[in-house]
């Protein structure tokens, strides 16, 4: 009788333990998926922000019209690419296109920042000052969103590979999540290679 009770208790404890591990994995997985969506949100925000910002800057940066036009152009290309990619999310070509467009836009943005940085008079101007602030903040937000994604992916992967949670992970088909690469090699739009069961 007693051994039976002990056995039942042990099994029950083990079951609770495994349920806890399973729930933790689910939590981490949802967290990194949410973090991925956050990058998306920030990218959208950038699309919306750039035209306004450039409009404001036009009055002050008359001699840098070309840079501004290039920024707008890069933004339009990226925006179009994002729409195509949203239309057919599985398409590898569309994703590749979008990565390229985002990379180009990011490099244009940093060029614009550098241009303004080069004119001390401009930097003192309040409108330009707030414009710079918004640009810096947007770029920061994107990179922080990527960083948050990578952090949560790492948490998830570590948990997934550690013993004993690795047993649960493999038996319930928790797949490894992918880290994002650097900005120039932007693949931010590419869905992480995970199959969710």
């Amino acid at each position: 009788m007693v051994p039976l009770i002990v056995l039942v208790v042990i099994i029950a404890l083990l079951a609770f333990y495994f349920v806890a591990i399973y729930n933790a994995l689910i939590f981490l997985r949802n967290q990194y998926m949410n973090a991925f969506k956050q990058i998306d949100v920030q990218l959208k925000r950038r699309y919306d922000l750039i035209p306004n910002l450039v409009e404001t800057a036009k009055g002050y940066l008359t001699h840098e019209r070309k840079t501004l036009e290039e920024v707008i152009q890069a933004r339009n290309i990226a925006y179009a690419a994002s729409n195509t990619a949203a239309g057919n999310p599985g398409n590898f070509g569309a994703m590749q296109e979008l990565s390229k467009a985002e990379g180009f836009l990011s490099s244009m943005m940093s060029r614009l920042l550098a241009v303004v940085e080069a004119y001390p008079d401009l930097k003192a101007n309040q409108t330009i000052g707030s414009l710079m602030e918004e640009l810096t903040s947007t770029e920061n937000k994107i990179s922080f969103a990527r960083q948050a994604y990578n952090d949560s992916v790492t948490d998830y992967n570590v948990r997934r590979e550690q013993f004993p949670s690795s047993i649960i992970a493999s038996s319930f088909n928790f797949q490894a999540a992918e880290l994002l690469e650097s900005v120039n090699n932007a693949r931010e739009r590419e869905a992480p290679q995970v199959a969710f069961t």
Binding site: A24, F27, Q31, N34, E133, E134, N140, A148, D155
Partner: protein
């Protein structure tokens, strides 16, 4: 850099959000255990104190009256242990401490915003256009993304010149982050990012829940000491009250021991958390040097990370860096690890030499005061079909301390209309003083001589008299409604004057005002505002002395009379109407039918004492007063510059600053 790596890995291990929250909760349970032990100790101490007092009582009775056999019996059979009395003490003390703790926690549980406001914070409007605030908001948003939590409310502690910040709130959804004005002005974007990230780590680790509970518990223990202190204050030693005196003394001692233990726990917990928060800040920003440089700036800055608000001590463990010093037991009671130690973990190459931070080395120019007096819309068309006073005045009360975008727009309009040359002068204390003097200088020749003489003798304002005359011409060209805003712009610089020169400045201002033998409303307002601002630390947070309207009724009437008078010069009937409109808002006064008399000259000394008295009344009364004043000013549907100036002075004197408003804009909105 072994130290940092160690921290980083420690942090990584507990990087899971739930794990951290769970840990915070288990810390809370430990804390509750410690609290219960402390409570029991206090109860036992109080019980024995009580018995001791009973014993003394018995003895003193014996000394005062003739000793009888019965008394002797009672004394010899005195029992130190009496379960019934113990239970009584137990229940009484438990009730007292728990009620105090729970009331305090309730107060704090309303969310981080409440705590921030308690410490003198002003909520930053999401649509702000001021560069420094915009940057702060952006930095906070960035950190919220990096930490993966909702964006908290952002507050600025405007009165604090030290570099500091704190996070408060019970859950991540009602969190608030506050930084001091000093931090806003002195830190670069990267440094601000580091500081904000540190605060976010507190939010993420669930430290705030612990902190709020700590504050509540410490307050509960503190109450015992407060009760003791009150008894001591109110009873002088005499043979009759010796019992009460001893009771007060014992309670105070027990209370202080309790508080001391509480502080000890508070600091021990807090120091651990600071290291962890620094490490997490680096994890969020991936830039240890930003945070390190902010800490170095604190080390090299005259004001350091000091917080002046008197409530700061209770909340010292919430801050980014040490907010107030301890003279005794500095190491045990420090809520924060030493600066050098924190910097070395972030930047191992630090040589221990702090960079010197200039007092005026600002990243941004001083923020324009939000509560600058507005230009009033003088058009005479009230909104159709509405009683503006009925709609408007309640809103005035709502607006105390809460400027909205419209107010800020008005302010920026006024500010941009002030000549640049004047605004540039306001950056140094001496030149600001000169501007103030120029504002007070008359333009008739007779008084001018005298006033120039006075200015010449003042050591505060330098420069030759020609410059000063030029300045006088500039100020003479100002509109009436630009003058007080200019004064308010000058205040932050004036505040940098050393104490002796402040007194001198005020004396010179008084002399200038009295030079022509009469005081105008503008002169009074100016003097009152400058005085209030320069001595704000001394007279803010006075003890509330009046809780009922009847105690201050007379003073309210004085203020209302002055307001009615200021708005309706030479028109006795209109003034009477305005006065009645104001009085009608306070039923307790209205039922007495106070009389109104019109006087050509306003008695400013009388108003001054009245305002000082009113400042000691409770906030409920203050709200009634501001409401009544607003009704009085707006009763005739127009607000002149003079009466709005006085209204602003009244609200400032009551420590309920009122943002500038336009009597019509909100009326039309409600319509």
């Amino acid at each position: 850099m072994p130290g940092k790596k160690n921290k980083m890995t420690n942090n990584r291990r507990s990087t899971n959000f739930f794990a951290r929250q769970e840990q915070a909760r288990s810390n809370c349970r430990h804390l509750v255990a410690v609290f219960l032990v402390a409570l029991l100790a206090i109860i036992i101490a109080i019980y024995f104190a009580f018995r001791f007092i009973c014993y003394i009582n018995l003895c003193t009775n014996i000394f005062t009256t003739s000793e009888t056999a019965a008394d002797l019996m009672r004394r010899s059979s005195f029992l130190w242990w009496n379960p019934a009395i113990f239970m009584l003490v137990f229940i009484a003390v438990t009730l007292l401490i728990f009620t105090a703790s729970i009331i305090k926690m309730r107060q704090l549980q309303k969310g981080g915003g409440t705590v921030a406001q308690m410490l003198g914070g002003r909520c930053v409007d999401k649509g702000t256009n001021i560069p420094a605030e915009r940057q702060l908001l952006n930095v906070v948003e960035e950190m919220a993304i990096a930490a993966g939590i909702p964006v908290p409310e952002v507050y600025i502690l405007e009165k604090e010149t030290g570099i500091n910040a704190f996070a408060a709130g019970l859950t991540i959804n009602d969190a608030a982050v506050a930084v001091t004005q000093g931090a806003l002005e002195k830190l670069t974007r990267e440094e601000l990012q580091g500081v904000t990230a540190h605060e976010f780590s507190h939010i993420l680790h669930g430290d705030m829940r612990l902190n709020v509970q700590l504050m509540g518990i410490i307050y509960g223990i503190l109450v015992v000491g407060i009760v003791g202190g009150e008894i001591l204050d109110n009873h002088r030693i005499s043979s009759k009250s010796i019992v009460l005196f001893v009771a007060g003394l014992l309670l105070t001692i027990i209370g202080y021991i309790g508080t001391f233990t509480g502080r000890l726990i508070q600091s021990a917990v807090s120091r651990q958390k600071e290291f962890l928060a620094d490490a997490s800040a680096v994890k969020f920003t991936r830039n240890p040097l930003g945070l390190a440089s902010a800490l170095k700036k604190i080390g090299g800055y005259v004001y350091g990370s000091q917080i002046n608000s008197p409530t700061a001590r209770q909340a010292s463990h919430l801050f980014f860096s040490k907010s107030c010093g301890n003279f005794l037991f500095a190491d045990f009671l420090a809520t924060h690890p030493p600066l050098t130690e924190r910097i070395l973990l972030l930047d191992p190459s630090f040589d221990g030499i702090y960079p010197h931070v200039e007092d005026n080395g600002q990243t941004f120019p001083s923020r324009p005061q939000p509560n600058t007096l507005s230009a009033m819309n003088k058009s005479d068309f009230p909104a159709p079909g509405l009683m503006p006073a009925a709609v408007k005045a309640p809103e005035v009360v709502d607006r105390v301390c809460s400027p909205n975008p419209d107010n800020l727009n008005r302010v920026s309009n006024i500010l941009s209309s002030i000549p640049r040359q004047l605004k540039d002068m306001l950056n140094t204390p001496a030149q600001s003083a000169a501007v103030i003097y120029a504002l007070l200088t008359q333009h008739t020749c007779a008084q001018r001589e005298l006033q120039l003489n006075i200015v010449g003798r003042s050591p505060v304002a330098p420069g030759n008299s020609e410059d000063f005359l030029h300045l006088c011409e500039l100020t003479a060209a100002l509109q009436d409604d630009q003058k007080l805003p200019l004064v308010e712009l000058a205040l932050p610089s004036l505040h940098r004057l050393p104490a002796a020169e402040r007194t001198n400045l005020l004396e010179t201002i008084n002399l200038l005002i009295q030079a022509d033998g009469q005081i105008t409303l503008f002169e009074y307002s100016l003097q009152r505002i400058v005085r209030q601002y320069l001595y704000k630390n001394e007279n803010a947070f006075k003890k509330t002395a009046y809780f009922h309207i009847s105690q201050v009724g007379y003073h309210i009437l004085i203020v209302l009379r002055a307001l009615a008078n200021a708005g309706n010069r030479g028109n006795t009937e209109a003034a009477q109407l305005a006065f009645n409109a104001g009085v009608a808002r306070i039923p307790e006064l209205a039922c007495k039918n106070p009389d109104y008399y019109y006087a050509e000259n306003i008695n400013f000394a009388e108003i001054d004492t009245a305002l000082q008295k009113l400042d000691c009344s409770s906030f409920k009364i203050k709200q009634l007063i501001v409401d009544a004043c607003a009704h009085c000013v707006l009763s005739n549907k127009t607000a002149t510059v003079a009466e709005t100036e006085l209204l602003r002075v009244v609200s400032l004197a009551l420590h309920c600053p009122l943002p500038p408003f336009d009597p019509y804009e909100s009326t039309s909105k409600t319509a």
